[in-house]
C-alpha cells in the first residue's frame, strides 16, 4: 500500500464538492481510501486514525486543502493524485461550451440566446424566487427546478405569471416536455397526442413511459409543482396549463397527475376540463379516490391506470381498471415464496421517485392494511416505504437518481432484518439521471441477497424500471443487469407493488 498527498494552498471547496471528489477517486482502480479535507488539526487527527496522515498532510495548514490517496501501488496512487488535481482545476475553470464561456446570469444568457422564451432555474431555494421574478419580469416562461421556495413566494410569483400570460412550472418541478424537448429528469419518449399536467415528476415519467411502451407519445407535459393544487396556491398554474394544452392542436387528451387536490381546486379543474371539452384522465393518487367515468373525464387510482385509460379513450375503447396478476407471475410468486422463512413477512420500499413511493404506500395500504412511510409522520410498521429523495436524505448529497449512496446503505440495513421478505425498488432512467442506475445498485442487491442466504433466508427483490428503449442508459441492458442480480423486473410500479404484496403475504 502507498499513500500519496496533494496539497493545494488556500483552496476552498464546499463539503459536497469534496465528498463527490472523494467518491470519484475511491472508484478509481487500485484506490482503497481517500481523504479530502481542510488540513485543520482536528482533521489531521481524523486522518491519523485512518492511517492517512502523511508528512505532507501533517505539514499543511488549516486553509490548505489536502487530498490523501491510499492505493495498492505507487503508480495507481500517482494516477489518482493526477486525477484529483484535474478534477479540482476543472472545477475552478469557468464553464465553457463550444469554446465560449457559458453565461452565469440570466441577463447574459438572454444576450447569448436572443429569442429564448423559457428559463430553467435551478438554484438554492433561498435565491430561487428572486431569479424567477427576474425571468418573469423579462417575459420568460419558467421551469423552476428548485425546491424549498416559501409558499407565499410561490403564490406571488404564480399570480405575476398568470397576469403576464406566462407559465411558471414548479417550484420543485423535476420533469417537463415542451414541444418534444425533455427538460429536467425526463425519458426519451416519442411526440404524440397526449398532454400531461403534473404536480409530480416521477408520476409524469411513469405515465409517459407506459404510454410510449404502448405506442403513444406526448404533445407537451407541464409540471406545475407539488403544491399547485393545494388550497393555498389554488391551482394558479394548473388551470392555465389545462387551457394551454386544450388550445394545442396536437393534444387530443389530457392526463392530470398529482395528489388529491383541495376540494375547491378539484372542482375548478373538473369545471375547466368540462368547459374545454378535451377528454381527460385524472390520476389524483390518494385515499378514498374512486375510479370511474363522468362524461369525457375518467378518474383512475394508479399511474398505470392513467396510461391504460388514456390509451383506451384515444382508441375509442371501453376502459375498466385491471389489477390482475398473470398465471405465469402467480407461478413465480409461489416459487419465490418457497425461499422465504415463515418469519419473513415485511416489505421495504426503497424509492428514488417520490410519487412512485407515494403510489406504492397507497396500493400496499389498500392490499395489506397499515403501511408506514417517511412521507407521513408516524410509527414504522411492518411494511415501510421510504422516499429517498425526501429532504432528510438529500441535504448535503445529490438526489438518489444521481447518487445511489443512501439507497445502498438502506438496502444493506434491510438485508440484515430477518423479517424483511421483499425489497421493492424503482430504477429511473432518462436524461439528467445517473449513467448506470441499475449498475449502481446491483452490487448492493447481490450483497443483500448473499447476506440473507448466509442466514438461511431468501430475499425477493422486486423492481420496476422507469425507462424507454431510447433512453441513454438503454432499457434492455438495465433490465438485464437487474435480472442477472436476481431482481424481478415488472413493467409498472403498480404491478411491482401488487407482486410484492403477494410475495410478503401469500
Amino acid at each position: 500500500m502507498t499513500a500519496l498527498t496533494l496539497v493545494i494552498k488556500s483552496c476552498y471547496r464546499d463539503s459536497v464538492a469534496l465528498l463527490m471528489l472523494a467518491r470519484t477517486l475511491r472508484a478509481t482502480a487500485g484506490v482503497s481510501e481517500v481523504a479530502a479535507l481542510m488540513a485543520t488539526d482536528a482533521n489531521k487527527a481524523l486522518m491519523a486514525q485512518s492511517d492517512l496522515l502523511t508528512s505532507d498532510a501533517a505539514a499543511a495548514g488549516p486553509n490548505d486543502l489536502v487530498v490523501v490517496i491510499r492505493a495498492t501501488s505507487a503508480g495507481e496512487a500517482e494516477r489518482a493524485v493526477g486525477q484529483a488535481a484535474d478534477l479540482l482545476s476543472a472545477a475552478r475553470r469557468p464553464a465553457e461550451a463550444g469554446g465560449r464561456p457559458l453565461p452565469r446570469t440570466l441577463e447574459s444568457a438572454r444576450r447569448h440566446l436572443r429569442g429564448a422564451n423559457l428559463a430553467l432555474i435551478s438554484v438554492p431555494g433561498a435565491f430561487a424566487a428572486a431569479e424567477t421574478l427576474k425571468a418573469l419580469r423579462g417575459g420568460l416562461h419558467v421551469m423552476l427546478f428548485s425546491d424549498n421556495v416559501p409558499i407565499d413566494d410561490e403564490v406571488a410569483l404564480k399570480r405575476l405569471a398568470a397576469r403576464k400570460g406566462l407559465l411558471l412550472m414548479g417550484p420543485d418541478c423535476g420533469t417537463a416536455y415542451l414541444g418534444g424537448v425533455p427538460l429536467g429528469f425526463a425519458n426519451a419518449v416519442p411526440r404524440g397526442r397526449v398532454g400531461i399536467v403534473a404536480a409530480s415528476g416521477t408520476g409524469l415519467q411513469q405515465v409517459a413511459i407506459l404510454l410510449a411502451a404502448r405506442g403513444e407519445g406526448i404533445s407537451h407535459a407541464l409540471g406545475v409543482g407539488g403544491r399547485d393544487m393545494s388550497a393555498a396556491v389554488g391551482g394558479l398554474m394548473t388551470l392555465p396549463a389545462l387551457r394551454a394544452l386544450a388550445a394545442d392542436r396536437a393534444t387530443e387528451l389530457i392526463v392530470v397527475v398529482g395528489k388529491p387536490p383541495d376540494r375547491a381546486v378539484r372542482e375548478s379543474v373538473i369545471g375547466t376540463l368540462r368547459e374545454l371539452g378535451t377528454p381527460a384522465v385524472l390520476a389524483m393518487l390518494g385515499r378514498g379516490v374512486e375510479p370511474g367515468q363522468d362524461g369525457a373525464i375518467t378518474t383512475v387510482t394508479t399511474l398505470e391506470d392513467a396510461a391504460t385509460a388514456a390509451i383506451a379513450m384515444l382508441r375509442g375503447k371501453r376502459w375498466s381498471p385491471e389489477a390482475t396478476i398473470a398465471m405465469t407471475t402467480e407461478a413465480r410468486i409461489e416459487e419465490t415464496r418457497k425461499t422465504l422463512t415463515a418469519r419473513q413477512r415485511a416489505i421495504r420500499g426503497l424509492y428514488a421517485g417520490g410519487t412512485l413511493a407515494h403510489e406504492a404506500a397507497l396500493i400496499l395500504e389498500s392490499l395489506l392494511g397499515d403501511v408506514s412511510s417517511n412521507l407521513k409522520p408516524g410509527v414504522e410498521r411492518r411494511h415501510h416505504i421510504v422516499d429517498l429523495g425526501a429532504d432528510e436524505f438529500t441535504v448535503g448529497r445529490a438526489h438518489p437518481m444521481l447518487d445511489p449512496g443512501a439507497r445502498i446503505d438502506a438496502i444493506a440495513r434491510a438485508a440484515k432484518d430477518p423479517e424483511v421478505a421483499v425489497l421493492l425498488l424503482d430504477v429511473v432512467l432518462g436524461y439528467g439521471v445517473a449513467a448506470d442506475p441499475a449498475g449502481d445498485i446491483v452490487p448492493a442487491l447481490e450483497a443483500a441477497r448473499a447476506e440473507a442466504a448466509a442466514h438461511g433466508r431468501g430475499l425477493a427483490v422486486v423492481t420496476t424500471v422507469v425507462g424507454t428503449r431510447d433512453d441513454p442508459q438503454g432499457l434492455a441492458g438495465q433490465i438485464a443487469r437487474l435480472e442477472a442480480a436476481g431482481a424481478w423486473v415488472l413493467p409498472s410500479n403498480a404491478e411491482a407493488v401488487r407482486v410484492a404484496a403477494r410475495l410478503a403475504t401469500g
Binding site: V16, L37, T40, A42, N43, N63, T105, V123, E392, G396
Partner: protein
C-alpha cells in the same frame, strides 16, 4: 458611457459600518463561490458579498447582483471611490443599505417548546460521527447540562476544525450550539468569559479563516439570518419552515448547524429537568 452600479441591499449592522468607513484599499478577494464572494477586509476580518436572499453570515451583505467575471479571483483588490466601492470595474453602492441586526435575542420562553417541534437533523456528517466527533459533542453537551464551562470548552475545542467542508462540520455544529445557548441561557455564557476567550483563540489558529469568522461572531452572539429565524420562530409551522431554510444553506453547513442546535437544546432540557 457610465458604469452601472450595483446596490448593496441589506447587510448586518456591523457590515454597514465597515462598508461606510473603509479606506481607499478596502480589501481583497479571499474566495469566490457561486453565490458569494468572501473579501479579506482591511481590518483583518472577512466580509461576505452575496446574491439576494437571507444573510448567509452575520458578516454578510446582499447585493442586487453579484459581480461575475473571470477576473474576480482571490487577491483582486476592492477600492473605495468616494461613497462607493469598486470591484473589477463594478461599482458597489452601499448608500441606502438596510441594516439587519444579526444578534440573537434572549428568549422569554423555555427551550422545550422549540425542541419539541424541531425536525431531526439529517444524517450526521462523517466528521461529527467519528470517534473524535462523538467525544467532542458529548463533552459539549455535558458542559451545558452540568453547567460546567471546562467541559464545554473541551468539547468546543474538539469540534473546531473537525470534518468536511470550507466551514468544517464541527465548527458549524459549535455555532448551532452557541446560537441555542445565546437564545436560552445567555447569562451562563456571559458569566464565563473564559469560554469566549479560549474558544476564539483556538479557532483563530485551528480552523479555516471562514469558519473562524463564523465562530468568532457566534461567540459574540451574532448569527446568520436563518439561524436567528429558527430560534425566534413563534409557532411550530414557523420553526419547521425555518429549519427547512436552514437545511438549504451552504452545502452541508445548515444540517451541521441544526445538529448543534439540537444538541444544545437537548442538553438544556436535561439541565432544566
Amino acid at each position: 458611457m457610465t458604469t452601472p452600479s450595483v446596490h448593496v441591499l441589506r447587510a448586518s449592522v456591523g457590515v454597514v459600518e465597515r462598508l461606510r468607513t473603509a479606506p481607499r484599499e478596502a480589501g481583497r478577494v479571499h474566495s469566490v463561490f457561486e453565490r458569494a464572494l468572501n473579501i479579506d477586509w482591511h481590518d483583518g476580518r472577512l466580509l461576505t458579498l452575496q446574491s439576494p436572499g437571507p444573510l448567509l453570515a452575520p458578516f454578510a451583505a446582499t447585493l442586487a447582483r453579484l459581480p461575475r467575471s473571470c477576473a474576480i479571483v482571490p487577491g483582486l483588490p476592492m477600492w473605495r471611490r468616494g461613497d462607493v466601492l469598486t470591484l473589477d470595474g463594478v461599482v458597489l453602492d452601499p448608500r441606502g443599505t438596510a441594516a439587519i441586526d444579526p444578534t440573537m435575542p434572549e428568549a422569554r420562553t423555555s427551550p422545550g417548546s422549540v425542541f419539541a417541534v424541531l425536525p431531526t437533523a439529517p444524517s450526521v456528517a462523517k466528521g461529527l460521527a467519528s470517534e473524535i466527533g462523538c467525544r467532542a459533542r458529548s463533552r459539549l453537551a455535558d458542559g451545558v447540562s452540568r453547567r460546567d464551562p471546562g467541559a464545554f470548552i473541551q468539547g468546543a475545542l474538539g469540534l473546531i476544525g473537525l470534518g468536511e467542508g470550507l466551514t468544517p462540520a464541527g465548527d458549524d455544529c459549535l455555532v448551532g450550539a452557541l446560537a441555542a445557548l445565546r437564545r436560552f441561557t445567555p447569562s451562563w455564557l456571559d458569566a464565563h468569559p473564559e469560554i469566549r476567550t479560549t474558544v476564539e483563540q483556538t479557532a483563530a489558529v485551528a480552523t479555516t479563516t471562514v469558519a473562524h469568522e463564523f465562530v468568532a461572531h457566534a461567540l459574540a452572539g451574532r448569527f446568520a439570518e436563518s439561524v436567528v429565524d429558527l430560534l425566534t420562530a413563534d409557532s411550530a409551522d414557523e420553526i419547521r419552515c425555518a429549519a427547512t431554510r436552514l437545511l438549504g444553506s451552504g452545502a452541508t453547513s445548515g444540517a451541521d448547524t441544526l445538529c448543534g442546535v439540537e444538541l444544545a437544546l437537548a442538553a438544556l432540557r436535561n439541565r432544566t429537568s
